[in-house]
């Protein structure tokens, strides 16, 4: 684009008016063909888990493949203050769109407002921000946790044949992901399986050992447990460990979410019965796609979900073993 303008300028004084007009028209047509968008992303905490590490790699690959994108990739290292200053940096650099993976759904809202006030649209990725920030953002790109909970309820129902008593192990209390998966599960279960009852619900804090302890308590308390729903596979495998130690694993259906490698392997052994496949690469590509659409001025959905399909022993061959 730059060379085109320069070449037009070298025509010199002779047709100055013409040349300027030409430059403008050439420039405009070039922009229409392959306009380059500068997209800045500030991530939550790359390296803290393999999900986020894979996400970053996939994002950079996708940005390199798209010939109309120049990506500025930043990472807040889990630090809210650093993320806020990174948003300011991106505003200074006048990027076309900012993607943010919030370190804190509440604290980043003022920073997002700062960007929007300067005319830079913001896309939130992976985990949504607080209600107060919703009118500000162009779109949220991420997994539909409520849908994931509903999928888990449907798989539980199928595996139990419509009848039974189950327990639920949730994520860390207060986390949006934990709250939404629980809601999705509890709302959907009575619709598909009115004869499946939830005996008890306790948190496992996304921690396999904590979940194992919680399940040991459940096993002592209830003589009959037909199924366990855990809000991720890490906790699901913890519950499986506890049930195996008590010699009761064979009678119990285990359903998780966010398929981890351990869950995938347990499923291959026939000990684990369902999960939800959430690909970090898909998460990253969806965020970039949404941001490009926003930059091009297309109308985008406020909630731009990517697909997180059910994975069961029957269809697990279609999925690669998760990297995390």
């Amino acid at each position: 684009m730059k060379t085109q303008i320069n070449s037009v300028r070298t025509i010199g004084n002779v047709g100055k008016v013409l040349s300027i007009a030409g430059a403008v028209s050439l420039g405009l047509s070039a922009m229409a063909q392959a306009e380059t968008f500068r997209i800045g992303i500030t991530q939550n905490n790359v390296g803290v888990d393999s999900y986020q590490t894979t996400y970053e790699q996939a994002f950079e690959e996708a940005a390199a493949e798209a010939d109309n994108v120049e990506a500025v990739v930043l990472d807040a290292g889990g630090d809210v203050a650093r993320q806020i200053s990174q948003v300011r940096d991106l505003i200074q650099q006048q990027v076309d769109v900012i993607i943010i993976w919030p370190t804190d759904g509440q604290a980043v809202v003022p920073a997002i407002k700062g960007a929007v006030d300067k005319g830079i649209p913001v896309v939130v990725t992976n985990s949504n921000i607080a209600e107060a920030g919703q009118p500000l953002i162009a779109s949220f790109s991420g997994p539909n946790n409520i849908q994931q909970g509903a999928y888990a309820a449907e798989m539980m129902c199928d595996q139990l044949g419509g009848k039974g008593q189950i327990v639920q192990i949730t994520g860390k209390p207060g986390y949006t992901t934990a709250v939404e998966r629980q809601k999705g599960f509890e709302d959907r279960l009575p619709e598909v399986c009115p004869n499946v009852t939830i005996l008890d619900t306790q948190p496992g804090d996304w921690n396999r050992e904590k979940s194992q302890r919680t399940m040991e308590g459940f096993l002592t308390r209830y003589d009959s447990i037909d199924g366990v729903y855990a809000a991720d596979d890490n906790m699901g495998v913890g519950a499986l460990n506890a049930a195996k130690a008590a010699g009761r694993a064979d009678d119990i259906v285990f359903i998780g979410a966010t398929n981890f490698a351990v869950g995938y392997e347990a499923m291959a052994r026939g000990e684990y019965h369902g999960s939800v496949y959430q690909s970090p690469a898909e998460d990253a590509r969806n965020a970039l796609k949404t941001a490009i659409a926003v930059a091009q001025g297309q109308k985008v959905e406020k909630l731009s979900y990517f697909d997180t399909p059910k994975i069961t022993p029957e269809n697990m061959d279609e999925f690669e073993k998760p990297v995390f």
Partner: protein, 333 residues
């Protein structure tokens, strides 16, 4: 154990001992009995040998760490790094299990765990830096090391069914789960070390009055150093139990455990200012925390009641402790 029984006898309410003093001295044992009785009456599932061992087993990870930390606290310092040290040690032993072999993995894990304990001990014992700052910094530093080591991935043992590593967390000896056995055995040994050896008495001395101890010719730097080695060692033991029980590890599996450990130690009546405390009482403190968690779960209470009840029990325990020392329940000035 024997010393404890004797001290219990001598402290029974008689004409010389007021009820307040009795509760101040033995409130923790009373609380333990009260917890057991209340939960037994409320839930038919509670009072069974199986459930009892489950509780001790569940307490064993926090409890084993708390044994070493009790020495640190009696010596007048704190150790907040044990939570992330637990994550690091568990990740290490689980990861090396498949890469070298289980025996070597355990040796290497203890080596690196003790090395970190030695760094803490050197900075606090020899350089005389503030233990809160050193171990708080170490908490994040170890978290960083763990993340660099794993690259953010969870680690798992591939063949979980056929490894003798399962002994530490999954098997039973004489009908008792091995984690519970390890915890209690280590507790008895360390209680003897604390009350029957010169080393134990010196730890009390440096925590009670460091300057006086120094003038009496005690090597404070070396003693403080050794308490951190001890807390690293017990954290390594806890990592064995945890790794074997779960057969895998997350990078943050011990996140927040340092506060649970400290809660158990405080509940056991060990003074945060140093100079007083007991391993047996730490064990009871940790068991009470586990009993509350187990009992309330069996009764079907939502999780947050555990937090509230735990908080309440700690406040009452600390209050009784202070009240007994000043001889009345309320402070008049």
């Amino acid at each position: 154990m024997k010393a404890w029984v004797e001290s219990l006898k001598s402290g029974l309410p008689g004409k010389d001992v007021s009820p307040l003093q009795f509760f101040g001295k033995h409130g923790i044992s009373v609380a333990f009995v009260v917890c057991v009785v209340v939960f037994s009456l409320a839930s038919s599932k509670f009072l069974s040998a199986d459930n009892f061992f489950t509780v001790v087993m569940q307490a064993s990870i926090i409890g084993t760490i708390a044994l070493g930390v009790t020495f640190v606290v009696i010596g007048g310092n704190l150790d907040l790094s044990v939570g992330s040290l637990l994550s690091f040690s568990t990740v290490l032993v689980v990861d090396l299990h498949d890469k070298v072999d289980p025996g070597m993995a355990i040796v290497l894990m203890f080596l690196f765990t003790l090395l970190i304990g030695a760094v803490n001990g050197y900075l606090i014992g020899y350089l005389r830096l503030n233990s809160l700052i050193v171990t708080l910094g170490m908490l994040s530093a170890i978290q960083g090391i763990t993340l660099v080591y794993t690259g953010g991935k969870n680690v798992d043992i591939a063949d979980q069914e056929n490894t003798w590593f399962a002994f530490f967390g999954r098997e039973e000896l004489f009908g008792i789960p091995v984690p519970a056995l390890l915890f209690i055995t280590l507790g008895i040994i360390l209680q003897i070390v604390l009350v029957k050896t010169g080393f134990g008495r010196k730890i009390f001395a440096i925590g009670g009055n460091g300057t006086a101890a120094l003038f009496s010719g005690l090597r404070r730097n070396r003693l403080v150093f050794s308490t951190y080695l001890l807390s690293a060692f017990t954290t390594g033991c806890a990592a064995l139990i945890l790794g074997s029980r779960v057969m895998g590890s997350q990078n943050n599996v011990g996140e927040g455990y340092e506060l649970l450990v400290l809660a158990g130690v405080i509940l056991g009546g060990t003074s945060l200012l140093g100079g007083s405390g007991s391993i047996v009482r730490t064990i009871i403190g940790v068991l009470i925390l586990a009993l509350i968690q187990n009992g309330l779960l069996l009764l079907g209470y939502p999780y947050y009641t555990q937090w509230l009840v735990t908080w309440g029990v700690i406040i009452v325990a600390v209050w009784l402790d202070i009240a007994a020392k000043r001889g009345k329940l309320l402070s008049t000035y």
